[in-house]
Structures are given as structure tokens and as C-alpha cells.
């Protein structure tokens, strides 16, 4: 009996000792490690390289959790919502900021910025509003602008410059084939290329966003609608949407998007987003492509479309001459649940430095620091640099409300139903959208 008790005692003591040792080891590991969560895409690979500088200077090991875009919001919002400890730093989408601030997922950074002398006016204003502020247009900062992004267009400059194509275009439309400056011109060019044989291969007019599951078609439609006069709400009366969401201009814009889908995309592109757009463009399937600016460095490096074969376009203007573009991009935030607050804040301080931001841009990361993008040499640094700058000056973003996911699902459904499935009219789709959004805001107690 005594022997048995002795063995049990030893085992218990051993277990406790091991647990304590392991616990200490874990605590130690937490202080020496940081996990950064982001989407799995090219810029994330660049950030891994960039972060080696932080590892060298701080002694903190960086770990990364990257999730493909279609599952990124699902996975990460679940993580934040469940109070998980996977991420110390989060490069979350711009629309998450309202929910993240109101639900306490992110750390408010005002005090930290003041203490470290990080000034928000050192960053491109649109990125501060889009990625950092909640409520919008108030000096309450929840992230540091990390990656500027915007929807723009790429076109096959080499095709546009071919004499036989230029001649054929001039014969058909009586004007020179130039990069489109308006959406009407864009459609005309797309129609011209649709089904045309180039180098023995049938090509198509344009690749646009039509994805149903996450946010694709909303990003594409909104990118057009803004320039047609769409507004989310009455500027004088928040959440008053009648006459703004379904304005005559907005209806025309949505009709235009559908007509572009009907006339000028490749067959079978009823569920396409960023990845499919990249593939279509790189493989020489389309003459023009709508996509976020983050894709542009990849095109420059591509043997098929790089080396001067690609031109970059700011979003064309709408019928009234107005020109806006859909904001993409993200800010970097400290997750409130982190066990390594000092390390996470240290990373943000390091990331905000001018030399790090210079390096970030050179590696394919779209810096938001004005000192980088306003440098006289910036526009010459890459063929797309000027387009990026011009595009960032005209951005608008989707709702960043805490209920953004519900608002987004409603627009996904309404837009896809009208544009791709061809059900109903544009006016009905937008009126339906107002009804859905009104219900959401009523549930939220905002109406």
C-alpha cells in the first residue's frame, strides 16, 4: 500500500513539475514569438521577408497565419469573435474596423501613437479613414495603415499598340484605340476585343468580378456604381438610403455592369474574383481586367504580360465625369487578446518607420506612408506607381459598420441575382437592397 502511495506521489509530483516547467516555457515562448494573421496572397510573402528585419532587431520570432481570401473573413472573424489567441497582430480587412472596435477585438492605438510619435497625418488620408478610424472621420485609431489597395484596370498595351488592331478599331468606331477614359469607352473597347482572334487564339473583352460566395461581385459593382452617382446614404441623415442607393444614376450604373457582363466577359465566368481575374489576364484570355492593385507587381514579373506589355488604368469616369474607385487594403492592428502586447506594439512601431516602408514598397507592398508615396522618385519607381497614387486619391469604401458582413451578404445576393442570373431589373435589385439594409440597421437599433 505504502509502495503504491509512494509511486502515485512521485507521478503526481512529476506531472506537476513538468506542467510548471512547460507552462514557464510557454510563457517564455510567448514573449519571444509573435503571430501575424493575414490573407494568403503575394504581399503576405513579401511581408514574411520584410519581417526578418524585425526579427533581427528585436530578437522576437515571427510566425504567420495566412488564410486564402475566400475563407479569410470567415476564419479570422471567427477567431476574433471566439476570443482565440492565435493572432497577436491582425491585418484585417478595412470593413472589419467597426465591428472590431465596438466588440473590443482590437486595441485602440491613440495613446501608443502619441507616445511613440507616430502621426496619422503622415499617412495617405484615405487609408487613415479607410483602415484606421472608427467611428469614421473621428480621431479614434484602431490600426496603422499597412497595405494600400484599390480597384483599378490593367490592359494589354501590346495589343492596343498593334497596327492591325488599331486600324480595325478606327474603322469600326471612327476614333483611335486608346486606354478608356470613361466606362462607355471601356465597354466599346471590350466589345471590340470580344471574340477577336489574336495570335490564333480567341480572346475576350474584359474580366470583371462576379463571385457570389464572399465579396467579389459587390466589390466589382460598387467600383462602377460610385462613378454613376451611387451613395450609401443621405449625407445629412445617416442610414437614410432611399434616393441614394437607388438613385437614377445608381440604376444606370448597375445596368451598365450587367451589360458589360452580358457582352464582354469570357464564357463561364459567372463566379470569378481576384484569382480567376489574374489567371484570365496572365493567360492572354482577356484584353482588360478589373482587379485590385496588389496584383500589379505580379503582372510586371510575368513573362506573358510583363516587361511593358501591360498598361495600368485608374477607374474610368462615369457618364457625369465623376470618377471613384473601390478601396481595398488593410491596416495592421493589435489583437486585444494577445499575450505579448509589448511585442505586438513593438512590431507596429518598427513597421511605421520610413526605411521599413521604403523597403516594403520595393518588395511589392503598397505603402501608405506619405513620405514614401510623395517622394519625387516614387512615380518612376514602378510602371503602376502613378496609377496607384491617382487611384488612392479617389477611393470610396463599402459600409464599415459592425454589421458589415450582413450588409455584404445582402448586396452579394441582390447583385448576383440581377447581373449574373438575370432576374428582375436593376431598380428592383437596388430597392431590394435598401429593404435588406434597412432591416439590418433596424435590427442593430440604428433605425
Amino acid at each position: 500500500m505504502m509502495k503504491s502511495l509512494y509511486v502515485k506521489g512521485l507521478l503526481t509530483a512529476g506531472t506537476v513539475a513538468c506542467s510548471m516547467g512547460f507552462g514557464t516555457m510557454m510563457a517564455h515562448a510567448d514573449e519571444k514569438e509573435l503571430t501575424l494573421c493575414w490573407a494568403a496572397w503575394d504581399p503576405a510573402n513579401a511581408l514574411v521577408e520584410l519581417s526578418k528585419g524585425f526579427e533581427a532587431s528585436s530578437g522576437i520570432k515571427m510566425k504567420f497565419e495566412f488564410v486564402p481570401w475566400p475563407n479569410f473573413a470567415d476564419r479570422m472573424l471567427n477567431e476574433l469573435n471566439s476570443g482565440g489567441k492565435l493572432c497577436d497582430l491582425m491585418i484585417g480587412d478595412s470593413q472589419w474596423i467597426g465591428g472590431a472596435a465596438e466588440n473590443g477585438w482590437y486595441v485602440k492605438l491613440n495613446e501608443f501613437f502619441d507616445k511613440e510619435g507616430i502621426k496619422m497625418d503622415a499617412f495617405v488620408p484615405a487609408t487613415v479613414t479607410g483602415y484606421s478610424e472608427w467611428p469614421k472621420n473621428t480621431p479614434n485609431y484602431w490600426s496603422l495603415p499597412a497595405f494600400g489597395d484599390v480597384v483599378g484596370w490593367t490592359y494589354r498595351k501590346d495589343w492596343f499598340e498593334r497596327p492591325e488592331i488599331k486600324t480595325a478599331f478606327k474603322e469600326k468606331f471612327g476614333r483611335d484605340l486608346t486606354p478608356p477614359a470613361t466606362f462607355d469607352e471601356l465597354k466599346q473597347v471590350a466589345e471590340f476585343f470580344q471574340g477577336r482572334k489574336i495570335d490564333g487564339k480567341t480572346v475576350y473583352g474584359a474580366s470583371i468580378y462576379t463571385e457570389r460566395g464572399s465579396e467579389g461581385i459587390t466589390m466589382g459593382v460598387m467600383d462602377v456604381l460610385y462613378s454613376y452617382g451611387f451613395k450609401y446614404e443621405n449625407p445629412k441623415k445617416p442610414y437614410d438610403m432611399k434616393g441614394f442607393v437607388d438613385s437614377a444614376g445608381a440604376v444606370k450604373g448597375l445596368e451598365f455592369y450587367k451589360s458589360l457582363y452580358d457582352c464582354c466577359v469570357a464564357p463561364g465566368t459567372s463566379n470569378t474574383y481576384m484569382g480567376e481575374g489574374i489567371d484570365a489576364y496572365k493567360s492572354g484570355q482577356v484584353a482588360m481586367q478589373m482587379n485590385f492593385a496588389f496584383t500589379w507587381p505580379g503582372f510586371e514579373a510575368d513573362p506573358n504580360v510583363g516587361g511593358g506589355k501591360t498598361g495600368y488604368l485608374v477607374n474610368p469616369a462615369g457618364p457625369g465625369g465623376e470618377k471613384f474607385a473601390q478601396l481595398g487594403g488593410q491596416g495592421i492592428s493589435v489583437v486585444a487578446n494577445t499575450d505579448n502586447m509589448d511585442g505586438a506594439l513593438g512590431y507596429i512601431k518598427w513597421f511605421a518607420q520610413k526605411d521599413v516602408q521604403d523597403k516594403w514598397w520595393s518588395m511589392g507592398g503598397f505603402s501608405c506612408l506619405r513620405a514614401v508615396v510623395e517622394d519625387p522618385n516614387f512615380t518612376k519607381s514602378q510602371p503602376y506607381a502613378q496609377t496607384f497614387l491617382d487611384s488612392m486619391a479617389i477611393v470610396k469604401d463599402f459600409w464599415a459598420e459592425p454589421s458589415y458582413a450582413t450588409l455584404l451578404q445582402a448586396s452579394q445576393k441582390r447583385f448576383h441575382d440581377y447581373v449574373v442570373a438575370g432576374n428582375g431589373t436593376a431598380k428592383e435589385a437596388l430597392d431590394g437592397l435598401i429593404a435588406d439594409w434597412t432591416e439590418t440597421f433596424e435590427d442593430e437599433g440604428k433605425l
Binding site: D74, R212, S270, N271
Partner: protein
Amino acid sequence: MTDTPADRLARATPQPVARRIRGLSDRAIAWIFVAPTIFLLLSVNIFPLIWTIRLSFTNFAANKPNAEVKWVGLRNYTRILTDADTWANMQTTAHFLIWTITFQVLIGFSLAWLINRKFKGNDLVTTLIVIPMMLSPAVVGNFWTFLYQPQIGLVNYAVEFLTGIPADSFSMLGPGGWARWAIVIVDTWMWTPFVMLICLAGLRSIPDYIYEAAEVDRASKWRQFWTITLPMALPFLMLAVLFRGIENFRMFDLVVLLTGGGPGDETLLASIDLKREAFEKWRTGYSSAYAIVLFVTVFGLASIYVKALNKVKER
């Protein structure tokens, strides 16, 4: 005196353990054995169900832990049952269920009937037929997305070859009304082998002497099929329908990969809609009510079906 396995087990039981157990009744021992299972069932099945029912009467949103949770009575249920979109999704689910099961039963039973005959290479053919059901739905979804691609996909190419309709003039997963049938085809391709295997088990359980007696009575093959084969394989067939029905009612992965529920809401099954409500829109109370409605539907249909199955078995 007999030496039963129970006696041998009793002798082999160490004395301290035997002493402890000796004082317990058979019922108590039975409870000790089933208690862990009951506890597990209560904690992972019954408790979540009760919790879901409770949530379904509230406006709870899991992404707003600090918000006040209000009792909303039957509002969530009223919204669901009066929402035209929900009914449209239920119709889409019904379309998917009815046609996948119909095709799988017809093709699965026919294949089983053919394979049940003895021929050279029987085993190899059976193995080849069951390959699709061994694949992951993610692989099947991506694989068929390529097959359905209008420009490079084999499906459109085959249609062009057979009918002359240009391959790039229609899209199986896009607008045009084919998407609902496209997902039915993929599910049928993947799961017909499963139905075939169950039917094969049923066919092989029919004793040969029944057919021999029918031969003696000069019954035709057609009559043998209708009076022996089909009635005796029917319980197996019904079991296959039950399994596939329950599986397809909660179909999610394959359809999300193929169409994402589109075009529009054309292939938006109730399970996909429920997931969006629960984990994208975070309307936890509403989605709990939605889940209960689906649960009651499946449970009700399955109960009626199981009763019918038992009646068939009793015959």
C-alpha cells in the same frame, strides 16, 4: 459443473476489484457501463439542442458578446416561415434531394444488378465504379469545375461534339438554368457507387434456391425480377435512400465549391443559407431557429420513412 466464460472471467478478476464490484446490483453495473456514453450524448447532442432551442427565441448575435440579449418570442420563426427566400431555398433543396436520389437509386440499382451477375473482371469493374465515392468532396468540386468550364471543359466539348451547339455558348454553372442540374449530376456521379454497394449487398442476400424454384415454375426473368429481386432488395434500397436523403439534406461543400450558391440563388441550398446566416451574418438567434426548422423537417420526414421501412421489412 460447467466452466462458462463468465466463470473464467470471474476467477481472473483481481480480488480487490471483485470485492468492490460484488456489492453492486446488475442494474448498477449496467449503469456504470452506459453512463459515459449517456454523458457524452447529453453533452454533445442533447445539451446543444436544448441550448439552440433557447437561443432561437432570442436576438443573440455571437459576434456581439456585450450586446443585450432580448427575448423575441416566435419572431425568428415567423420571419423564417414567411420569408419567400427561405421557401425558395427549401424548394432548391427539395429539387436537389429528389433528383439526386432518383438518379442514384435508378443507376445504382441497375449497376448492382449488372455487377451481381458473374463475369470476368467483376471485381475490377466494382473497384473502378466505387472510386468516385472515395474522393474528397473538395477534389470532386474542383475537378468538376474544370469539367464544366465552357472553353476547356470536357462536358461542353462533348455537348458540342454530339449536338453541334458551340461549347462556349453555354455554361453549366452559370446562368441559363443548368446550374441546378449540374450539381445533381456531380452528386450522382459521386454517390451512385454508394447506393450500388448497398443494393449489391441486398441482391447477394437473396438465396439462390428462390430463383431455382422460380425457374422450376417456369417464371420469366421479368417476373422473377418483379416478384423476387425487387421486393427482397427493397429494404436495402430504402435504407440507401434514407442515408442519401439525410446526407444530401445537409449538402454543403460540393455545391459551395461548384457554384457558391449561384447564379443568384439558383443553387442556394438551405444548409448553405443556414451557414451564411450563422457564421457570416452572425444572426445566431435567427439561425438557431432556422436550424430547428430544418431539424424538425428532417426528423419528421425520417421518422415517417423509418416507419415505412419497418413495414416493408416485416412483410
